[in-house]
Point group: C2
Chain length 349, copies 2
């Protein structure tokens, strides 16, 4: 299993609807009012989307508080990551992280350097400094997937300095940004540097609960954007994604409510799972949690949960993790209670 | 102007809704019933599309009468073209043709060999045979854009033999296939060869009038598909495109009606435009027409039509054409009459 969310592959193993703890989507669903807007906009499918996505980029710039000239958009965050990768000679990743960083690098024939996070999934700045070379593309999840950890503000500044000194490029994959505590906004930080040697990617996929709509976006320097724009596929974003983008970023109440919900719920789940023998939940800044299994392996736990109608994420597919790790999404309270209950039953076996 | 359909760039020059003769979309609109299905499926946006697009590929295989194992899908035909290009060392194109063939080749750092169609926009087999080298990717529009001409069946066989002898690969871009006379079906022909060294691309964009939905598809050999699948971006097709694909290919009446309409209408337009002094309309097999301007240049005619609320396609952006060519889409009768009338007024100046 390379990715979460592939319920179809498991639907034969359970009678009833599976609860998906394997993909990390906002459990509150998309902003209210969106379906009505999309229903009324279906006729836009008969026209090409704006090849320059002018209005969409304006909405994104307003939301991100950056200039329109800094905004890039793509068919999900993964297309933007893929486009950036094509612009550099070598890709540097820390593992465990989203497997597409490394995979897309290899597909494009790039050299990929894989470095390890420390044991508590932090970045060792010495290791970075020793290994990074002139012109490298460093891709970091912030927060990182599957570890759930956000880079501390001071560490981020140090990373940037190291990368910039080598005229490298720092690509932050912030697909889960809005779920995190509001300690800092990397766009706000790097705006002051005109995004020089930096790209920051976000997406409608996770926080706005729209994985099916395929809308990634981000910002980078005006200079890099010129190169980026020249190599983009035309019309990469569906008309309805364009329309959704024009709406969702203005839903301030929804955004607040989602942040608040997730902050409380991850505290609750962490506390509950910490009480269970045989589990070591890792502290998380976002809407999913990496769990170290102390008694079982991922396969056993996966099958145990599948039998109960839940799909969790096995983690041995992530470089740097073995079969003793799983990842779970933080979902609605009723689903989370079912998850906790099932872990308790597992504990009793 | 690299592509048609970019009405936003011209909306300030006309008070009222522009009629778009620059993008070649089925004027009958999408199949009836589609909007209702999509309206009822908006909740699918909150789930990832099937990463393997199993059901969608089954529907496409049924429609194309090929095996599921041969089917590829993409974010519009252009993404599939782009993926194929990445698998080869050199791209061979005939011009004039869809500019993305050459552009995407260059973006991926491929050598691009540009050959010329004959004066009547046919392929000279000798020129092909002399120039094609071992392992080349030959991309041909069938019908070709902007010329509107389909490759004759015997010529297609000869092209295939030439390409195969050099172990090259023939990629047919058949985005406008269903509009054409039913003289042959290349999928039916190449099925007998298990699509060896062949890829055929089609799309929902033009015939099903859904440029905003971004759904391209096609078929190739099981062997090549393995390589292709391994380099695809995940979730490249939006959930609603997936659902539309599950419906539109079964709309037999719509398909028949659209074919019949277009057959009659292109005959009508060709005859009417042939009567106008200063125009040489080219015979076409599909839903658009290349027109040679004998008295004016593209810019003059473009502005004349824009003043009347119509956007046509200037063609000097196509390699091999100069400023004396324009392309028009064949639209609804009332729109076509307005186009013809405007040409008549232009003639009188």
């Amino acid at each position: 299993m390379e990715h979460g969310g592939d319920l179809i592959s498991y639907s034969d193993f359970y009678d009833g609807e599976l609860i998906d703890f394997s993909s990390n989507i906002n459990p509150l669903g998309p902003p209210g009012g969106l379906y009505e807007i999309l229903s009324n906009s279906l006729h836009t499918l008969t026209r090409y989307p704006d090849i320059k996505y002018r209005h969409l980029k304006k909405c994104i710039a307003d939301y991100l508080k950056c200039r329109v000239g800094n905004v890039v958009v793509g068919n999900g965050a993964v297309e933007i990551i893929d486009n950036f990768i094509q612009l550099f000679n070598r890709v540097v990743v820390f593992v465990p992280s989203f497997i597409e960083y490394e995979k897309r690098g290899k597909i494009h024939g790039k050299e990929v350097l894989r470095l390890n996070y420390t044991e508590d999934f932090k970045i060792d700045l010495n290791i970075l400094e020793i290994n990074i070379k002139h012109g490298d593309l460093l891709i970091l999840g912030n927060p990182n997937n599957p570890t759930g950890l956000r880079i501390e503000r001071e560490i981020l500044s140090s990373i940037y300095k190291i990368v910039k000194k080598k005229d490298g490029f720092l690509l932050l994959d912030e697909a889960f940004y809005e779920f995190c505590p509001e300690d800092y906004d990397s766009i706000d930080i790097f705006k002051d540097y005109d995004f020089e040697n930096v790209g920051i990617i976000r997406a409608a996929t996770k926080f706005f609960a729209l994985p099916g709509i395929r809308l990634g976006y981000g910002c980078t320097s005006i200079d890099l954007k010129k190169t980026y724009d020249a190599m983009e596929l035309p019309w990469s974003i569906n008309s309805l994604a364009e329309i959704a983008g024009n709406y969702i970023f203005s839903c301030k109440d929804y955004i607040e409510k989602s942040k608040l919900y997730m902050g409380n719920e991850r505290k609750f789940i962490f506390e509950e799972l910490s009480k269970i023998n045989g589990l070591k939940p890792h502290s998380t800044d976002t809407n999913y949690m990496l769990i170290k299994l102390l008694k079982w392996n991922e396969e056993y736990v996966f099958n145990y949960f599948l039998k109960e109608g839940m799909v969790i994420r096995k983690c041995s597919g992530f470089q740097g993790l073995d079969t003793s790790y799983i990842r779970i999404a933080i979902k609605r309270r009723e689903d989370n209670l079912k998850l906790i209950e099932t872990f308790k039953n597992l504990e009793r076996i």
